[in-house]
């Protein structure tokens, strides 16, 4: 799963640029195809930051209205996607900071502590095929939604929207090491949550064998002998 660092290769998206030019030249209707192309991305970003559909919807609307009204400030050396992403994240973060019952940022501190996995059974060979399309959507979406927001937003920006670490860190106003540490934790937490659905149910035998193997060869031999294997 190799990701290219896109920070130094802002390839202007020709279609986006042409549409932007048309809007700026007075053809307002040309804004609509731009929205169609980017609405899902903007929705995912605002949902990742805000965590609920109602707030995400409002932030998404405000993002596009702001983008339309400030389109003349778009610098063409950047990709339109990058510019729009910044607006969306800013809108969502501003909205979040206005919430009354703001979750204290104390949870950010825990990001520096390492997350210790608890589940060590392997997964079934094609676990996603055991569920229907709708069911798998529901499983994946609720697992992502259950992440604390600082991990959820890092995960969505990097692993779903595929921003580079630098772009994601800049958009969230945090350092690259902080972003990477949150992303690692998000990935490990999601793995843990999805393991409940996807892992191979361990028999007593495999449990004993695994415990023994994990403890080291000498102990393994003793335990397996004791279990009559």
């Amino acid at each position: 799963m190799q990701k290219e660092d896109q920070s130094n290769q802002y390839v202007p998206d020709e279609d986006d640029l042409l549409l932007v030019e048309r809007v700026l030249a007075g053809d307002r209707r040309a804004f609509e195809p731009l929205v169609r192309k980017h609405e899902r991305r903007v929705f995912r970003l605002t949902l990742a930051v805000l965590g609920n559909i109602e707030d995400a919807e409002e932030a998404m609307q405000d993002t596009f209205v702001k983008a339309f009204r400030h389109l003349d400030q778009f610098r063409r050396e950047a990709r339109f996607t990058t510019w729009l992403t910044r607006i969306a994240i800013n809108e969502a973060i501003q909205k979040r900071s206005k919430r009354k019952n703001l979750v204290p940022l104390a949870e950010a501190e825990t990001a520096t502590e390492q997350f210790t996995p608890k589940r060590y059974e392997s997964w079934k060979s094609n676990p996603e095929q055991l569920y229907g399309k709708q069911e798998i959507h529901q499983i994946v979406e609720s697992a992502i939604q259950s992440l604390p927001e600082i991990y959820r937003e890092a995960f969505v920006l990097r692993d779903i929207e595929e921003l580079s670490a630098e772009e994601a860190a800049e958009a969230l106003g945090i350092t690259v090491p902080a972003l990477k540490s949150r992303l690692l934790r998000a990935r490990l937490m999601l793995r843990e949550t999805l393991a409940e659905k996807f892992e191979e149910p361990a028999t007593l035998r495999t449990k004993i064998v695994h415990t023994a193997v994990d403890a080291g060869t000498a102990v393994a031999m003793r335990m397996m002998r004791a279990a009559g294997m």
Partner: protein, 80 residues
């Protein structure tokens, strides 16, 4: 490079999955996971989790949410 313990290995999981880090680091990680069942499971299933999430393409815009977006934009675009 000295032998890595499970904690060091886990801290470098993202490097491994994202294809970052030196060849030396990757070799050390591979050496560890070839011998450590638990780390092997964590590395393998985290990679599979990422693939499942990407293949699923989660979070579509609900139709009603999308419809209200275009209504609002329609108003904004027709402002004088």
């Amino acid at each position: 490079m000295k032998t890595m313990d499970c904690k060091d290995v886990l801290a470098n999981l993202s490097c491994y999955l994202d294809g970052e880090g030196s060849a030396e680091l990757r070799a050390a990680l591979e050496k560890h996971i070839s011998r450590c069942r638990r780390c092997r499971v964590v590395f393998d299933t985290t990679g599979r989790m990422l693939k499942i999430v990407t293949d699923t393409a989660p979070f579509e815009v609900p139709l009603s949410v999308s419809a209200r977006l275009y209504t609002r934009l329609g108003e904004v675009l027709s402002e004088p």
